[in-house]
């Protein structure tokens, strides 16, 4: 697979949110608006790419038995890095998502891509896989955030569009579950129409 194909795969056929159903907690928790989804998505792209690269580079040296510990340490390192970078250079934005940035350490999507892909592939494909998965995750969060922001607070990207707040439930956690369910159904229907509907290996968490 070329780099471009790997990115498209992460965005569509193996979209972490809508297809792999990995890291659903942040997909509900931070997606009350588009901006939060975008910020967390950026952090996830960074952590996923860097962790994939590290795991791929170290794949000759990591023993099978201790790999989970090593991967956790790698992820924690890169999460600390992005946490400090955002805290230092974007303090205002950082305040809104800082809690979830720290939680990237336990996002299922990161370690599962390291385990399934980066540990078996060379540097360049791992880079593109991380990029695709991170962008797919960001895309999912922003879609959910857009629907919830529009229906829940009548805005999009902070601009008042509707003038009212039609459905308050959408910015509550319950609304997050509804939106994810509906978007997942729509996403899978569209993919099936496009001929990309083969079921991926499912995950949990």
């Amino acid at each position: 697979m070329s780099g471009f194909q790997l990115i498209v795969r992460g965005l569509l056929a193996e979209n972490p949110v809508f297809r792999l159903a990995l890291s659903m907690c942040p997909a509900v928790a931070v997606t009350t608006n588009v901006k939060n989804g975008f910020l967390l998505g950026c952090a996830v792209v960074f952590v996923q790419v860097m962790s994939n690269l590290t795991a791929s580079a170290l794949r000759q040296f990591v023993h099978q038995r201790v790999r989970v510990v090593i991967y956790t340490i790698i992820i924690a390192t890169w999460v600390s890095a992005i946490d400090m970078i955002m805290g230092a250079y974007l303090p205002d934005l950082y305040d809104q998502v800082s809690l979830y940035i720290k939680l990237i350490v336990v996002f299922a999507i990161i370690i599962s891509r390291m385990e399934l892909f980066a540990s078996k592939n060379p540097l360049i494909p791992s880079l593109f896989d991380g990029l695709g998965m991170g962008l797919g995750f960001m895309f999912g969060l922003m879609m959910i955030g857009a629907v919830r922001e529009l229906l829940g607070s009548g805005q999009l990207l902070g601009f008042d569009l509707l003038g009212t707040k039609p459905l308050l439930i959408m910015i509550l956690p319950a609304g997050g579950f509804f939106v994810i369910g509906f978007l997942m159904a729509i996403f899978n229907t569209v993919l099936k129409k496009l001929g990309l509907g083969a079921p991926p290996a499912g995950g949990h968490h």
Binding site: L167, L168, I169, L172, A174
Partner: protein, 351 residues
Amino acid sequence: MAESNTRSPGGEQKTAPPVLTVGISPHIHSGRTTAGIMWTVVLSLAPALAANIFFFGTRAAALLLVSVLSCVCIEAVCQKLFRRPIRVRDGSAVITGILLAMITPPSVPLYIMPLAALMAIFVVKELVGGLGFNVFNPALVGRAFLMACFPVAMTTAYVDPLSWLEAGSGAADAVSAATPLTLLKHGGMDAVLQHYGSGLRIYSSLALGLHPGSMGETPALLIALGGIFLLFRGIITWHAPAAMLVTVAVLTWIFGGESGLGSGDPLFHLLNGGLILGAFYMATDYVTSPSTPKGKLAFGLGVGLLTALIRLKGGYPEGVAYAILLMNALTPCFERWFAPKRFAEPLKAKA
């Protein structure tokens, strides 16, 4: 018996030589249909609805109409969209519409009812497979949805009954009144006494429905009569309502008082809020509550426990709706725990 089940469609049995066909049990049909049950339930609610339209005027009638119409239309459209047989005539959507109107304050803006109906019929019922497959009671989810989306309208749109007679129609919009349970939650029993006078007057206005509330909360006696009618027709059984009412009565008697254990007022809590409607019409739902007697008893007990807990200790004045919804989620467990015994034990593999 068994003819309608065992004969193959086509009607050739009269000319062809008799063929013995083997059908799967059950073979005895009670003659009761879904539609028959549903319309009996509607009939049993008619007196309470009539009383409510008298209490709250055209407002209540409009609410009822909009709610029922939107439920029926949404169900028909859903069944068409999902290419299922159109079965709106079985009346289940009508009942959902009526119950939804009965658990919504009478003077809410009417445009929120189609939204609640969309949630109740489309999301909760038709998306998961239609009648018989829903986990949660559709009308109650509709109410929970409205509570989450329009909390102000849902808690302030109560009006005094018969106020439309005194002030002329339309003036009822302006005045919002507190339900007895809201009074109790915020001001204790003193506030209720102050508002209604003596203890006896509280009970009589609660039983007759002369107090602010949703349509399903006001005429406690008429709703109970409808429930008893359903009991005698054999449409519901006594297990879940009895367990629920007894549990609430006992718990509110023990823990509901302001001066120590056992000083509570069980009758006040029994007549109040949606307890009677919930006990007879929602905790007995065929789809979302257990089907075995023991399961029904456990279900009623759980609903009563949660209702008393929310009323006495929770943030909301009334908790029947959430109590039933929470127990709906447990219904599959009750079905498993209280499953009827098999006639023969399954054969064990040789050790």
